[in-house]
């Protein structure tokens, strides 16, 4: 079977919000699994959207275990160039994912729902910053 491209669009966040809501109205173990699914989808949206956008704007991100550090490297450079705090915000999403999805130590459903909203805003801010950096670069050249 040929690999198909992943669908990494905003419905991930819609699904994550739905998982968080389900976690709030169910009981363990279902609520625990729903929180872990929400955390995975939120982080997956952040990481895959940033990877896609960085690559599309000329900032390479390798596939595999180096992807995380390469993404952070570019975000730190954006922070330095524009006086932002993207790398720290990226790490906050990564930390919640690590604790919740991998280790089953999850935030409350309400916090996960808020994170789904924040993820969309965060990625949009990074996209705008990448456009700004490229615009500045074009002007300098």
């Amino acid at each position: 079977m040929q690999p198909r491209p992943l669908r990494t669009v905003v419905d991930l966040l819609d699904e994550a919000a739905a998982e968080a809501a389900r976690a709030g109205r169910t009981h363990p173990p279902e609520s625990d699994l729903a929180r872990r699914q929400a955390a995975e989808k939120i982080w997956g949206y952040v990481a895959s959207e940033l990877n896609r956008t960085l690559r599309a704007t000329g900032f390479p991100v390798e596939v595999g275990p180096e992807a995380h550090e390469m993404r952070k490297k570019w975000l730190r450079e954006l922070d330095r160039a524009l006086g932002r705090n993207f790398a720290a915000r990226h790490d906050a999403f990564a930390d919640v994912h690590g604790a919740c999805f991998y280790e089953s130590r999850c935030p409350t459903p309400d916090l996960l729902a808020a994170m789904a909203n924040e993820a969309r805003a965060f990625v949009d801010e990074v996209k705008a910053a990448l456009v700004e950096v490229r615009r500045r670069g074009a002007r300098a050249a």
Binding site: L6, R36, K41, S48, V63, E103
Partner: protein, 58 residues
Amino acid sequence: MVLVRHRLTGETLEVFDVALDDYVFAGPPGEPAKGRMVHRSELDPDPFEAVLTPWHDR
């Protein structure tokens, strides 16, 4: 791409990520938005035997 079969439903699932306990995040191939936590005992072959790049590192 790591594909497995759900023992009860017969579905073909892609394994997108593997947790530290006995669960994986799996769903229809190429569609992590529809993914869910699945216990390894429900899947064939055992996804913990596979080498996997998590979908968010691709």
